[in-house]
């Protein structure tokens, strides 16, 4: 088996657009859960809304890229309001239930055959990337070195994806050191106390939900730009991957979601490469290649359990914060 090849692929994953998308989505639930205490278990729904919000207008109405980005954002804002208006006045657990169900509803709606003309049904949509590649400012050629060697188009999507991650992180940093962030963190601790101090808790929760949801929708766009949209990708598994990345890195931190996404994506590729390598070299004989794909999730699950037990605050989290029973 070719260790060089396996490590190369895993290292390449560090900067892949999928990783950037994961990081953005994790920053989104970082705002929801880490700072505002909102349990959003439907981030995959926001990503789907973002992806379809970008792709459908592009294909149906020939929207330029900037306009498609805007429809994607607008769709996620609308979705956030739809989720938030009935639930944000209720206890936190209700939002969790509603988001998990809504994300599933979104997935079923876009894959229904009745909407095939618009959403492509279960097969999804493709062939929408033309206008994005047309904007590529990089000349044809090969860029980078080692595992990070990209064609012009590969470089373009990575630059856009990671720029969005950077912008989102700076935005979150600026907000969370501000008095706005203080109110939001106060709501996470005890919303009645914040209410008694004259803050409109409902409005702040809505703002946080919308903000994190918009990051989710941008993640959805970056996720699909290099490939096709497939509704099957937006199941609850995706949501829980993103939760895992967030908790791995540390929920109420700036670097947590980014590094969490990088580690998660790299580990996923690495374990896959190693397992498949061992199978093709006949060292492991009792499982097949398809089974290997599932076994790596078990291994990652076990690693994460150890992490949560021994480092519950994540990599960047503050241990002191967790030592209180609040």
């Amino acid at each position: 088996m070719d260790w060089g090849q396996i490590l190369d692929t895993a290292a390449g994953e560090l900067l892949s657009p999928v990783t950037a998308a994961y990081a953005l989505a994790a920053i989104g639930i970082g705002v929801h859960f880490g700072y505002a205490g909102l349990l959003n278990f439907g981030q995959a729904g926001f990503m789907a809304i973002g992806a379809y919000g970008f792709v459908v207008p592009t294909l149906l109405f020939d929207f330029p890229v900037w306009a498609a980005f805007l429809t994607s954002i607008a769709a996620s804002v609308l979705f956030a309001f739809l989720l938030g208006i009935p639930t944000l006045r209720l206890r936190a657990d209700y939002l969790a239930i509603v988001t998990i169900a809504s994300a599933e509803i979104v997935r079923y709606v876009v894959s229904t055959t009745g909407l095939t003309d618009v959403t492509g049904g279960a097969a999804g949509l493709s062939g929408f990337n033309g206008s994005f590649t047309a904007l590529n400012p990089f000349a044809d050629g090969i860029y980078g070195f080692g595992p990070w060697t990209f064609t012009a188009n590969q470089l373009w999507i990575r630059v856009v994806g990671w720029s969005l991650v950077a912008i989102a992180s700076v935005l979150v940093y600026l907000l969370m050191r501000s008095p706005w962030g203080r109110v939001v963190k106060g709501i996470r601790e005890d919303e009645d106390a914040v209410r008694s101090l004259g803050k409109n808790v409902y409005a702040y929760k809505m703002q946080a939900l919308v903000l994190g949801g918009v990051f989710g929708s941008l993640a959805g766009v970056i996720y699909v730009l290099p490939r096709a949209v497939q509704p099957a990708n937006y199941g609850t598994t995706l949501t829980f991957f993103i939760w895992t990345m967030l908790l791995l890195g540390g929920a109420a931190t700036i670097w947590g979601p980014i590094v969490g996404a990088m580690i998660f994506a790299t580990l996923l590729t690495l374990s896959d490469g190693i397992l498949r390598g061992l199978i093709s070299a006949d060292i492991i004989t009792f499982i097949s290649g398809t089974q290997a794909g599932q076994i790596r999730f078990m291994i990652i699950g076990a690693v994460l359990m150890l992490l949560v037990i021994f480092r519950p605050q994540g990599i960047f989290g503050n241990k002191k914060e967790l030592s209180f029973n609040v």
Binding site: V183, D190, A193, R195, S196, L197, L211, E321, V326
Partner: protein, 305 residues
């Protein structure tokens, strides 16, 4: 009823439960709140005097906290109207009530554990433009106000003996310290009426003394104070006016000395012992009595089945 006192400078007319005040800051009418079959609050009419320290007392379960929750928008009444400084506040959301200058604290403290003590305080301030999502992004727009409220917070923390703790997480404070923090935080907004639910529960006597002085100071600065308290020494020491609740109703009110000798109040506090002289209380056998009550309760339950 003691007929010795019939008038009082705070009162317009005769003193008695639900009496009219010369200058009321809160006027409540027909406020009721039931939980299932239980009527927790049933206040026909009550007025809280302005520029005075008013104590709200009554036995456990009298409905004091529930009444606080209703007035401040944290709970919804079944019926009733009330006004604050002449504006109706019934069915106004809690945060608006607070912005109008009626700020409350909680009996079970609500400190924001994973924020520092100072951050807790700053959250109590008003008119911080940085609390808007968009202005928050540009620090120069809010850093001036931040400096001003930080100075104010530190001054209050010093007064409440919490200044050394200002960088610690609020979760690391003791129970009494949390009470103090909550009171200090409520003062950050310079309220017109501050409503304290058992502010001194768990605070050590020496500090209680200095805080009592502080509350009196608030009054002299023009604030009105309404507080719930079980410690009768404290009530006697600082309050100008006492309102007594029992089983949801206002059963008596008056200046502290008169109220504490009012048979209706003694009745409310001592329940079944209303025939007993206060000095005779040791004569009652609580064990036998508890057994009787339990037996009655069991009989009732059986009858219900």
């Amino acid at each position: 009823m003691s007929d010795t006192i019939v008038t009082h400078p705070l009162v317009d007319g005769a003193v008695g439960p639900g009496c009219k005040k010369v200058d009321p800051i809160v006027v409540a009418d027909g406020v009721t709140r039931t939980f299932g079959g239980l009527t927790a609050v049933d206040v026909a009419h009550v007025e809280i005097p302005r520029h005075a320290i008013t104590a709200l007392i009554g036995p456990n379960g009298a409905g004091k906290t529930t009444f606080f929750n209703l007035l401040t928008g944290f709970d919804k009444p079944n019926t009733g109207e009330w006004s604050f400084e002449g504006h109706s506040l019934a069915r106004v959301p809690a945060f608006r009530v607070s912005r109008k200058g009626m700020v409350r604290t909680f009996q079970l403290t609500k400190s924001l554990g994973r924020l520092s003590v100072l951050q807790n305080m700053l959250l109590g301030a008003t008119k911080q433009p940085g609390e808007n999502l968009f202005t928050a992004l540009i620090k120069p727009l809010w850093s001036k106000r931040e400096q001003a409220i930080t100075a104010k917070a530190e001054e209050l923390l010093a007064r409440f003996k919490l200044l050394e703790k200002s960088e610690d997480y609020a979760a690391s404070l003791s129970g009494g310290q949390r009470k103090l923090l909550e009171m200090a935080r409520a003062l950050m907004s310079d309220p017109v009426l501050i409503m304290l639910d058992e502010p001194m529960a768990g605070v050590n006597p020496a500090l209680t003394q200095s805080l009592l002085g502080h509350i009196k100071q608030l009054k002299s600065e023009g604030m009105s104070v309404l507080f719930v308290e079980h410690d009768m020494h404290m009530v006697r020491h600082i309050s100008d006016w006492v309102i007594v609740m029992a089983e949801g109703k206002v059963v008596a009110e008056g200046p502290p000395d008169q109220v504490m000798n009012d048979p209706a109040v003694i009745d409310a506090y001592l329940g079944a012992h209303h025939d007993t002289d206060l000095g005779d209380m040791t004569g009652a056998n609580p064990v036998i009595e508890a057994k009787e009550v339990a037996a009655q309760h069991a009989a009732k339950k059986e009858g219900a089945i």
